[in-house]
Amino acid sequence: MLWVDKYRPKTLDKVLVHEDVAQNLKKLVAEQDCPHLLFYGPPGSGKKTLIMALLRQMFGPGAEKVKVENKTWKVDAGSRTIDLELTTLASTYHVELNPSDAGFQDRYIVQEIIKEMAKNRPIDTKGKKGFKVLVLNEVDKLSTEAQHSLRRTMEKYSSSCRLILCCNSSSKVTEAVRSRCLNVRINAPTEEQIVKVLEFVGKKEGLQVPTGFAARIAEKSNRSLRRAILAFETCRVQQYPFTSNQAIPPMDWEEYVSEIASDIMKEQSPKRLFQVRGKLYELLTNCIPPEIVLKRLLFELLKKLDAELKHEVCHWAAYYEHRMRLGQKAIFHIEAFVAKFMSIYKGFLIATFG
């Protein structure tokens, strides 16, 4: 079992990073009732962990017995019926799904499932909770129609079903949905907090962690706890006992992007652009999301540039990333950015050195 999963806190009391949030959530549940919740925060900040711990707090250990189901829905949409297939994670008390997997038909999924859940309410003979919880991931990727249809559904079925929404940025969730939920912001853990967690993991595993080593991992982790723990485990596999100057292996795709960046800096020509294209394709075919490639590329380039160029480059990065969202094929836009950068940089070199 990976350390990330092994040391995931199971209850709200054991949470190490967002203690205040966890205590607040506990108070919420203590009143036998909870509002709709919207968790938002950057990746690796602990949203999912908190949600699972919250479910456990609400329903007891039964909430952890999840089974994966591949369900098919037949949705009647006027003249035709649509068959929808989606994988859900369900326990007796909750259902978890990624509605954005259904693409443009996400609207039907949301409506169908919520209606079905409202119909099959758990029977409350033992004085158990009479509602189910629906956990929706990546709500920021839901289409606008689906978000619209959530609005009234949330109110109508509020007695039988609570929603827990989870997303990276709440600015892509419509105002109407946000105003119906209790918003919970989960910030990325600070480096000190990451160090604390890493030391905790090290102690549990019985490892000797040299001073400053955890801090170096934390620094490299971009404030993502998941990444930090993964890096920590990788280091453990590579070399143990740790030495204080042990290299922390960077992600291989980051290495690759940094290579691309230095290629671009060295030579600005159509030929080089062609070579870069091959490398970019390789990144994309390995399922690195294009916006992350672009962001990383910008990050690497900014490190090497003069201040006056930085403004210009960051503007064009934003411009082409926006274009990429509107367009279809990501490679065009990343390549356009590279070409733009080459032209700017060449212009700068000629103006400075003649």
């Binding site: 108070k27 036998q32 950057p42 006027g78 009234r152 109508k156 940025s169 990325a188 212009g347 103006a351």
Partner: protein
């Protein structure tokens, strides 16, 4: 009854059972609990209330179109008038409520709405309710209906106008096609003023036994910006989390508003003219998980009120804010867009050239 429904179980009883078993109200969202049941209780919307009270007396009313920002009482008003006209007995058979969560394509308009509209009904008072001789179709969130569906409604509205009244509810009147809008009496719902908001909130606080000081009260009405539903949701959230006495800081933490210091730090980083400093600040905002759209609107407030910034500079900054907001709606990456704003703001404030010198 209690044999079948132990008290704890009764708390979460669904709508049907509620009428039978007494219900402990705590499970209900306050927004639903304090939704006005009668038209005359709707706050701050005098014209509508006057027209509708008239309707109650004369049992006659035109097609209606309610529009206005969220949380101003549009749906409440429509539901209240329907209940007051028909009472609980007839409500089911006389009122059809459709909203964006139901399918409302052109097919539904052609079949469901048309069939419902076509049925003739009798008049005559029943159980103390006016029960006028028409039915009501409430189309909530009508601005999310397709144009085709709206077009299909035009003739239906006229043909069955004797026996059916339509209530359209929407946020943006510009998304309702002109032919529909011209068939309706239009009512704009104003954002609630601070006093009205305060009085409603105080009422709820009294009912729920909450303690709010004046600072928290004014904070609540300023962060909710005239949206009463939002104010009540925040209040309930804060009450759940922090118990019965609520300070303005508690309200900020549940509302998702960004603390002023963070925005100020971002603005001064832009003022400093150091790109790397601004970049660090942007990274910080993203890592803390603050929503960038909120950041932009709070930055906008600071820029507009800033001293020592010329009008031209303000205009340039605001122009960029507008462009970036559009990009965010299109789904662009938050980090890159905020960085673009930071860089633009910095160039404006430090009088660096806005045009790029190496572009050809």
């Amino acid at each position: 009854m209690y044999l079948f429904f132990p008290i704890e179980a009764g708390k979460k009883a669904p709508q049907r059972e509620r009428e039978m078993a007494p219900l402990v109200q705590s499970s209900q969202p306050w927004v639903e609990k304090y939704r006005p049941k009668q038209v005359k209780d709707v706050a701050h919307q005098d014209e509508v209330v006057r027209v509708l009270t008239n309707t109650l007396e004369t049992s006659n009313c035109p097609h209606m179109l309610f529009y206005g920002p969220p949380g101003t009482g549009k749906t409440t008003t429509a539901l209240a008038i329907a209940h007051q006209l028909f009472g609980p007995e007839l409500y089911k058979s006389r009122v059809l409520e459709l909203n964006a969560s139901d399918d409302r394509g052109i097919n539904v308009v052609r079949t469901k709405i048309k069939n419902f509209a076509a049925v003739a009904v009798g008049s005559g008072r029943q159980g103390g309710y006016p029960c006028p001789p028409f039915k009501i179709i409430i189309l909530d969130e009508a601005d999310s209906m397709t144009e085709d569906a709206q077009n299909a409604l035009r003739r239906t509205m006229e043909t069955y106008s004797k026996v059916t009244r339509f209530f359209f509810i929407c946020n943006y009147i510009s998304r309702i096609i002109e032919p529909l809008a011209s068939r309706c009496a239009k009512f704009r719902f104003k954002p609630l003023s601070e006093e009205i908001m305060t009085s409603r909130i105080l009422h709820i606080c009294n009912e729920e036994g909450l303690n709010l000081d004046t600072e928290a009260l004014s904070m609540l009405s300023s962060i909710s910006q005239g949206d009463l539903r939002r104010a009540i949701t925040y209040l309930q959230g804060a009450a759940r989390l922090f118990g019965s006495s609520i300070s303005s800081n508690d309200l900020i933490s549940v509302s998702g508003v960004i603390p002023q210091e963070v925005v100020q730090a971002f603005f001064s980083a832009c003022k400093s003219g150091n790109f790397d400093l601004a970049n660090k600040e942007v990274n910080n905002v993203i890592a803390e998980g603050y929503p960038v759209s909120q950041m932009l609107s709070q930055l906008f407030d600071i820029v507009v009120e800033a001293d020592g910034v010329s009008d031209e500079q303000k205009a340039k900054i605001c122009k960029k804010l507008g462009e970036v907001d559009k990009c965010l709606v299109d789904g662009a990456d938050e980090y890159l867009q905020l960085l673009d704003v930071a860089s633009n703001t910095m160039r404006v404030l430090c009088n660096m050239p806005l045009e790029f010198s190496y572009e050809n």
